[in-house]
Structures are given as C-alpha cells and as structure tokens.
Symmetry: C2
Subunit: 328 residues, 2 copies
C-alpha cells in the first residue's frame, strides 16, 4: 500500500541504496540515473518515511515547542519560530505542557524530536535538568530556567519593569499596586524585582495588600484589579506583569465602572498586538517578541548542529505610552 524506496528502485531498475542516494542528490550517482530515479519517485508519488529516515540517521529534523496551551502569548510567537525553523530545514511540533509532566518527558525523550524550545518553564520544573541529563538540546524562550546550562532568549524584564516603576513615580503616584505573575517563573520574579527597585529608589512602599499574584491570564487581571481596588486605601496606579493581565484588569474596570486612567492608571508588559487596539490603547512595555522567537529558533538549530555553546541573549525593551496612564 505505502510506496517505499524499494518500489521506486524496482521501477527505476536500480537498487534501493541508489534511490536513497539519488534523491538526496549524492554526487556519486550520475545525473542520468538521478533523473530516472526522480521520475520513478514522482510517478509513484513516493514520500520518504520520516520514521525510517529518523531511525537510520538518529535525527528527525523536528523541534518541539513546549508551551502551556492556556498561555496565549505563544500564539504570536509561533509564526516567527515556524518560519525560522523552516528556513533551517526543521519542523515544528507543538507539545502542551500540562500539570502532569510524565507524558511530556516521554514525548520529548522518545527520539521523535531533535530539540526543544521551552516557553513556559517554571523555575521549579525538573524538565530542564532531565533534558540536559539526556542530552536533548533545548533553549529557553521568554524565560530563564533554574538550569543555566542552556541558551536563553529573553527581554530585559528587570529594566522594563523598572521603567514602568519610574514612570508611575514620575506621574506622582504614591499608592501603587501590582498584579504579578507566578513567582516560580523568571519573568514573574524579574518583573517584580525591577518594579520594586524603582519604587525603592523613590522611597515608595509596596505593602502586601497592594500586591496580587496569580497566573499570566486575563482572569487574573480581572481578579487582581477588583481585589486591589477593594482595599481601604486603593492604589491609584497598577502595574500588570503582562498584557493579558492588564487587559483583564481593564475589562473588570469597565464592568465596575472604574475609569482608566481617570480613576486608576493601568500599565502592562509585552506589547502584544491587542494592546494597541482602540478598545484598550494600553500603555505598556514592548518586548521584541518576534525577534526573540526567531533568535530562539535559530539558537536551537545551532545548538542541535553543534555550532554554538551556551549563550544568554537579552533583548532591550521600550516603554510604549498610550492611553491608560495619567498623573495621580
């Protein structure tokens, strides 16, 4: 039923080995024979089996993108990753990272991929160590893992958040709140640290009841805004650890009849496409997400092909001033 290289060989009147060589353009096969083989392959509609090829060469030219399906940030990153990998003759496979790691470990180590891009790795995750132990090349994207032995690509989260802190201070805010991401992610930690640094410099305190910490999703933003504003002395400005959170905050504010930026300033992080929509016009920090994704893909291929060592790339961020911030 399936057409194999043996079928092609029979039709072209050569051996299977010659078919393999001919189709790869091996110079040891005459142009004449190559042509004949190619025609036979075409006629039969031959498609080389990735399984056979992979088994033989111990490489699949496939790369796993490991992400939490719920984290919508990666949707924007798939195109640049896909295209960069394509250019380098690699394919992308999406693996969902769920709570139970067991299946994921296996899927990464079953030899069906040559490497992985980890996008949503938690600092506490054992995965990077496991992969390193098994010599499966991988890079971090938008994360820095607890494991330092792998290349990473990330935005300058510390500087970016610090810039937001400085902005809020400059605008005269003193009661400032923050909706943070998970503390066991590098972005969660770094964005917190940068922001705190700015407030510290201005001698502005960040009491516990002005800190809300949860996931990187819209829902968290909704809850965060509501919770923070319910306090005795509610903040006049809220920094959200990423744009999805910020948009959730804006949504809840609208529902509660809270004016932004009239009643409260809201600032996000990442500058996803949606942030620029007129419905939001979110003031935020731009991470060069496309460039980062492309770089990560490139680094991974280099790593797989043994061309580089460990390298940590940090991309500069840029404050994007839109319409959700105002003086205190």
């Amino acid at each position: 039923m399936t057409v194999t290289s043996h079928d092609v060989a029979r039709l072209a009147g050569v051996s299977q080995a010659t078919v393999s060589r001919a189709l790869r353009g091996d110079a040891r096969v005459t142009a004449d024979t190559q042509e004949r083989v190619r025609e036979a392959a075409q006629a039969l509609g031959y498609v080389r089996s990735e399984l056979g090829r992979g088994l033989s060469t111990r490489s699949t030219h496939r790369v796993a993108l490991v992400a939490e399906l719920e984290n919508t940030l990666y949707h924007q990153l798939m195109r640049p990753i896909h295209d960069e990998l394509g250019k380098r003759d690699y394919r992308m496979v999406l693996l969902a990272e769920d709570s139970d790691d067991a299946g994921l470990h296996e899927r990464l180590l079953d030899r069906s991929v040559d490497g992985a891009i980890l996008m949503t790795s938690r600092l506490s995750s054992a995965l990077p160590f496991e992969l390193a132990r098994r010599n499966l090349p991988f890079v971090f994207l938008n994360r820095v893992g607890a494991f330092a032995g792998a290349p990473s690509v990330s935005a300058d989260n510390f500087a970016g958040s610090r810039a937001v802190g400085d902005l809020l201070v400059r605008l005269g805010h003193t009661r400032i709140g923050v909706i943070l991401g998970p503390s066991d992610t590098s972005t969660g930690r770094d964005r917190e640290a940068g922001f705190r640094a700015a407030l510290d410099d201005a001698d502005i305190s960040l009491p516990r009841n002005r800190v809300f910490r949860r996931e990187y999703d819209e829902e968290s933003g909704r809850m965060g805004l509501e919770t923070l504003l319910a306090a005795n002395k509610p903040p006049t400005a809220i920094f959200c650890a990423n744009d999805f959170v910020a948009i959730g905050a804006l949504n809840r504010a609208t529902e509660l009849g809270v004016a932004v930026p009239g009643d409260v300033t809201v600032v996000g992080f990442d500058d996803i496409d949606m942030a620029a929509w007129p419905a939001f016009r979110l003031t935020t920090v731009r991470s060069p997400l496309m460039a980062m994704a492309e770089r990560a893909a490139g680094l991974l291929v280099d790593l797989i092909e043994g061309k580089i060592g460990t390298e940590h790339d940090i991309f500069a961020t840029e404050l994007v001033l839109r319409s959700t911030h105002a003086p205190a």
Copy 2:
C-alpha cells in the same frame, strides 16, 4: 548513549522481546518478570523510541492538526482536541498550512502521523483528495470540504446566519451590509447563503457595494467597516462572518468615532471568548466550538481505528444578544 530496550534486557537478564512484551503488559510475561523489567527500565531511564515503534507497528499514535497559524480561532480549539486525543491515547502535532502546499503534503504523508484534522481547508484545496488517495484518515473541523468522503464537524452556519438576518430585519434595518469570509471556504459560503436567504425573505436587497469580502481576521473587519460606511447610503447594520472580523469592525468604528450600536449595528459569528469582554459585548451567534472540536478529535480516532464510516455532524447554533445591536 541512548538507552534502548536491549540495554534494559541485558540489565534485567531477559531478551529484548521480553522487554517489549513486559512493558506493554503482555499476559505472556509473568508478573514477576514484568516487575523486574520495569525496574530495570526505570533504573536506566528507558524511554521507548517512537521511531522504532512506529516503524514496526506502522502507527505513531500522532494526529496532525492542520491550521493556518494566522487563524486565531484554532487557539481555542487546541485544548479540547488535545485533551480528547489524550484520553484516546493519541498525541497532537500542529502543522502550519501555508500557501505552498508541497511541504505540507509531505509532512502528512511521511508516515509520521496516523491522521489529520483539517481546520482551515479551502474548497479549492487539493489536499483532501490527495490524502484520500493515500489512505490517510482525516476529518474536517469547522469546514466541509469539496471532498465528501471524509467525516466533518461543523456548526449550522446556514441557520446561524439566517437567524442574524432575521434579527436585523426584525430590528427594522433595511440598509444592511455584510463582511464575508473567503468564498472558497464552506463557512464563507454557507454563512453568506444563510444571511442572503433571510434578507431575500424580507425582500431586502444586498447590493454589491454593501458586500465586503476578505479573510477571517481582525484586519479585514477594520477595512470592511470603513469601506462599507464610506458608501453613499451607508448600511445601518453590518453582519460580520466571524467574531475576529466583527471585533476588527468595532475597533475601526471606535477609531472613526462611529457609535455602536448607535450609528451602526454590528453582529459577529462564533462567540469566541473575547466577544463577551466588556470592551466589546458583541452580539453574535454561538457555535459550540469546544464540543465540535472534541467531537472531531473523537471521530478521527474512530476513523483511524476503523470504527466508523463517514459521518457529517452539524451542531446547532444559538443567537447571543449582547450590546452591539439596536433598532434601525
């Protein structure tokens, strides 16, 4: 370097064949031996090679999800598909459907997947015929292909759009515009037909300058709204072929200072999560996307395992009245 079943066999003091059987829980291996093998596998950190397994069994337990990366609708569908496949012991692989079909054909036919879910298939696409010819099982999701030999799962697009048409008529609109999706998709065609049927029944015409046709994305909505409203006698209501388009229309309306629904009524289709956000509160038609995705995944697995024939499932839709519609 890589741990194989031979290594496990050596350590457990049995043959490779026994390892294979033991790990699959074959009754022909004593519980005692199974335990010993399992321990050895554990000790060595053995992970079965998908390549070897696939080559031997001619099945990979992997299913391709074929989608255009730009079509954000599928992001919402990945979780139900992923989970349903997981339950049935299958894995999901995302393949980007780009303009050049060549690479895609190969990736589907290289025996690295057992089947495919086609989510963005164009009516003109040769892919379904190609897959059918090669006996690669597949199902259509949210589409009906020109090829009728494969199962399909879709919403009742005709009835849904007709309901929107009826609604607009009931609200007293007579100058009605529409922003349609590509005419070589079944959704594009069916949603157009249903809407036209409703207008026909009410003797309301749909002149060419009130029809804008483009892709299923936010950008198309922006352009569509602007174009339609620029006409001499602009429409007082606009039906958008899906929610992304509708949101694009809302965005552009905001930028242009056009009030919705004060100046113009806007209705979408699908009821994606975002449609309910307070920034939009979009009146739309709900497709049971989750249930559809789950069903498609289930059907595909049944098809792969030879349990069913061809079956076309159509899910009922439901009008969701929010805040973007008003009387003429």
